[in-house]
């Protein structure tokens, strides 16, 4: 399955990619913001991990844009952000995000969320 990792911090992208590789994910596409991610998104993407605060197009607007597309209705979207106010989390949920990780993340939490979303997507 191809993963799309979106974060404006190159450091964070490397950390997420490293964590994914450790759990056996090798097909990974990276983007520095939502705008770049939209240009790289297509039906081959099977899982999205996105930051919230990014220049040009943030994670919530990116999620809305993906959900508005025919080929983006069901792809799992995992938001990974420092934002942890309840109203922010609800906003993310309403934008079409399937689950949420608060930074700094632990590899175990990342793995659990990916497993749960992948299983739910297969079942759904």
């Amino acid at each position: 399955m191809k993963f799309l990792v979106i974060d404006d911090s190159a450091t964070m992208r490397r950390i997420v990619v490293n964590s994914l590789q450790r759990i056996g994910v090798t097909d990974i596409v990276e983007a520095g913001d939502g705008k770049e991610a939209l240009s790289k998104f297509d039906a081959s993407i099977g899982f999205i991990i996105t930051d919230w605060n990014m220049p040009n197009l943030g994670g919530v607007d990116f999620a809305r844009a993906v959900r508005a597309r025919e080929d983006g209705k069901t792809v799992p979207i995992l938001m990974m952000t420092t934002r942890s106010l309840k109203e922010d989390i609800i906003t993310a949920l309403e934008s079409g995000v399937n689950n949420y990780i608060v930074k700094p993340f632990t590899p175990q939490v990342l793995k659990d969320k990916i497993d749960a979303l992948t299983a739910a997507n297969v079942a759904g």
Binding site: D7, D8, S9, A10, T11, M12, R14, I15, N18, S19, R22, W52, N53, M54, P55, N56, G58, T81, T82, R83, S84, L85, K86, I89, I90, L93, N99, Y100, I101, V102, K103, P104, F105, T106, P107, V109
Partner: protein, 227 residues
Amino acid sequence: MTPNRAAEVLYESEATLRLVDRELGELKAGEHPADAAFAAGEGRTILASLPYILQLANSEILQVIRSLRESRSALEHSTVERIQHTHSKLQEVTSATETATNGILDALDRAQGLIDELDADNGGNAGRGKDVRNSLRDEIFGIIGALQFQDITTQQINYASNVLLDMEAKLLRLMQILDPGAGKSEIATKLPEMNPAAPTFDMHATTQDQEKRQSVADEVFSSTPKA
């Protein structure tokens, strides 16, 4: 100019202008008692001294303007310039930590590669050597995870920078109010424009209480029915 002197100048200017205003008002309205006598006596004296009064008022007003210009200049050089310098220093810190973090990540990648080579040399044999190599991988992975601090502190610095830029913009507006005729100085023109590609941040970004904050997110997602 000290604040006390500025207050004195303002007070004197106000008093002089009030005196001029009162005399002009009385002359215009013809309310002065005994107009005929006034025109011939006291009124003539006041009229004669009017140019002097106006000159005095003008001189006081010029003094106030000079004082405002001094205030503007002091504000610009001591405050605005310092804010711009601090903002620039914060950007340097962000850039330096990002470079250093990427350097550490590169080194950790190389270390992982070396462990893989050791594994290959030993044919992936089980035993003490393999345990040590796996422990080293775990340690390296732990260090990589800990480097998330860089993203979070960068957001905190970006927030602090943004507060400084906001203060700077407000001070520059105040300077324009103090002395609108002075135009934009070299320092004022350095004010950054709003840029959609500018660094973004979460003003509440923190490395603290991660588990507690994660549990809030988990609660929201588990309690909301799936669409």
